[in-house]
């Protein structure tokens, strides 16, 4: 899940020297001629040296990115069942999107997934971060514990949770202690989707927690101390100092959370296979189902392109909303 972090994160770990990375950047920028690109020296090799360096990267880019995108666009206007060659069908696939009830159902489920997942990525991890930001002995081991699910595979997580969520499992036992249940979490159509969202959230919380923790440690301690001396309560410090200082990081977790929520195929595939009765059929799973279970490669790609446009839309929306706040 760290793969899509690049542009959102700001670079390498803080350098050990007193001069911060930002200072150094500023110094270099001041020395640079206006309009000149970053980096201090002009290449002294031949004109093609930079392209030679990038050659392996560009070849890989072509194979795993550019070519697939071209194929996806081409297939979205074709009918293709893998066995016989693809035939051009124009916008037929896009028309089918409009009237396909399962597609509408998958879209609704994906949006519902997004709505339920976002608080698990943006709000809950903040409280975890506040907790592990406390300066008490042994706090590092709690950070490790909360982060543990992030490094494990989704399959392992699914095995553990399917076991816990069994009718006679631990979760239902806990529910029975307060006089509730039993609930058949993954087989009940109204519970299946929230359950899958909760497990996905549980697995990734530690990751968002670390983003907030880094942000919290960036808040100058004097601010918090002087607020305490002025008699501010914990809640007041949270509201007036911590939350404003974290604003840019909310934008990061929100963007990552929304991307993550749309990319839920793995979880859905492993936990429920879209069931029961399509209760967890999301766009990602529907694409897989169309392509590999029903051999409708063309239409699957059309749904994929719709999903891509949707995700870019969300990303842009996020950018504009957070820009306006600045």
């Amino acid at each position: 899940m760290t793969d899509h972090l690049g542009p959102v994160l700001g670079g390498k770990p803080a350098p050990p020297s007193a001069e911060t990375a930002a200072d150094r950047r500023k110094r270099r920028r001041a020395r640079r001629r206006p309009g000149a690109p970053r980096g201090s020296r002009v290449t002294q090799g031949r004109w093609y040296t930079p392209y030679l360096f990038m050659l392996p990267g560009l070849v890989l880019f072509a194979i795993i990115f550019a070519w697939p995108v071209v194929l996806a666009l081409q297939m979205s206007v074709s009918s293709y069942d893998i066995i016989s060659p693809p035939t051009f069908v124009g916008l037929e696939n896009f028309e089918r999107l409009l009237v396909d009830p399962r597609f509408h159902h998958a879209l609704t489920n994906s949006l519902l997934f997004l709505v339920l997942y976002t608080p698990l990525a943006v709000v809950v991890p903040l409280f975890l971060a506040l907790l592990v930001n406390l300066k008490v002995p042994g706090i590092q081991s709690f950070r490790v514990a909360y982060f543990l699910p992030v490094v494990t595979s989704m399959v392992a997580v699914a095995v553990a949770w399917r076991f816990l969520l069994n009718q006679a499992g631990v979760v239902n036992w806990l529910l029975s202690l307060v006089g509730l249940g039993p609930v058949d979490f993954l087989l009940d159509t109204s519970w299946a989707l929230p359950t899958v969202v909760a497990i996905e959230g549980w697995k990734n919380m530690g990751f968002y927690m670390m983003i907030y923790l880094a942000a919290l440690q960036g808040i100058p301690r004097e601010h918090l101390e002087s607020a305490t001396l002025d008699g501010a309560s914990g809640l007041q410090r949270l509201r007036h100092i911590i939350v404003p200082a974290l604003m840019p990081f909310f934008a990061v977790t929100l963007t990552l959370g929304m991307l993550e929520a749309m990319k839920n195929f793995e979880t859905v595939y492993i936990m429920t296979r879209g069931g029961p009765q399509d209760a967890t059929l999301t766009l990602g799973y529907y694409i897989w189902h169309l392509a590999f279970e029903r051999s409708q490669m063309g239409y699957a790609n059309t749904v994929g392109i719709f999903m891509w446009v949707l995700m870019i839309g969300f990303a842009l929306l996020n950018l504009t909303v957070t820009r306006r706040k600045d």
Partner: protein, 284 residues
């Protein structure tokens, strides 16, 4: 005032608060670690002890290790573990080299189309695996690479995170070192290989660890592109084991635990580095 006297002067309420705090931390920790602990205990439960039930039995009495042997023999477990190791060992060095070679000109050279290339590599991140699955599968079948180790490895060799973080690191390098090397007669490749690469060791370590975790856990792409069991990585093997063991939780739990051991071991050994680098990357 010595630390000792300070400690003695702390009021009782301080200790009460601290105990409650540890209690809270521990309860939350149980929520994150508990499921794995229960998985481990299930993997060691004897047949006479139920794995379900109210209240659940936590401690296996007596602990047995037969289920680990079962899981090992029910599927080609050793083979799948070896595959995962192979995928990691082949992928990570190549991934680091490709990322660095791509990032180096983007950070330190001037050439036509630099901005465009940078945006191209960044745009990788806006293409989630879900959408790329089908078209990538089609490309691999056109290249006649489906059901091959190569197909699994190729897709893991380039990521926007690698290019982005290394470009950042290269851009922070002091230019004087490069200048000195050039005066000493080093060519462009020599500068990259002998001067630039060693400087990026900390970033490389972060990328290698993150890469290891993601390759070890990779599931979707191998699922789509592989059909032969003997090429499965272990994460996919566990999904396969689910089908083989049926309702037998113990064998499945044992297999799952074994698949987690390497990645959890590495995480615990390197936890400080992993957690601080995650935080550092965000702070920038």
């Amino acid at each position: 005032m010595s630390a000792d006297t300070v400690r003695r002067q702390r009021p009782a309420s301080f200790w009460v608060r601290r105990c409650l705090l540890y209690l809270l931390l521990a309860v939350v920790a149980l929520g994150f670690v508990g499921p794995f602990v229960l998985l481990l205990s299930t993997a060691m439960k004897p047949e006479t002890q139920s794995v379900y039930g109210f209240p659940p039995s936590i401690v296996p009495l007596p602990p047995v290790f037969d289920w680990f042997v079962d899981a090992w023999t029910l599927i080609p477990f050793a083979r799948m573990l070896l595959n995962s190791v192979l995928y990691v060992v082949i992928t990570i060095p190549l991934y680091l080299l490709v990322s660095a070679m791509t990032a180096w000109p983007l950070a330190r050279m001037r050439f036509r189309g630099r901005g465009v290339f940078f945006i191209l590599f960044l745009s990788l991140m806006f293409m989630p695996a879900e959408i790329m699955l089908v078209p990538r599968f089609l490309v691999m079948s056109q290249l006649d690479l489906t059901d091959s180790y190569t197909a699994v490895i190729l897709v893991a060799l380039l990521s926007s995170l690698g290019v982005f973080l290394l470009r950042q690191t290269f851009a922070e390098m002091p230019g004087e070192i490069i200048e000195a090397a050039r005066i000493d007669g080093a060519n462009e490749w020599g500068i990259f290989w002998r001067i630039a690469l060693p400087i990026t060791k900390p970033t490389m370590a972060v990328l290698a660890i993150l890469g290891f975790i993601s390759v070890w856990n990779s599931f979707i792409w191998p699922l789509v592109v592989l059909t032969t069991q003997d090429k499965f990585p272990i994460a996919l093997g566990i999904a396969y084991l689910t089908g083989v063991t049926g309702t037998d939780m113990r064998g499945l739990a044992a297999g799952t635990v074994m698949s987690l051991v390497p990645v959890i071991a590495i995480f615990i050994v390197l936890q400080r580095r992993i957690l601080s680098s995650m935080g550092g990357a965000v702070k920038g």
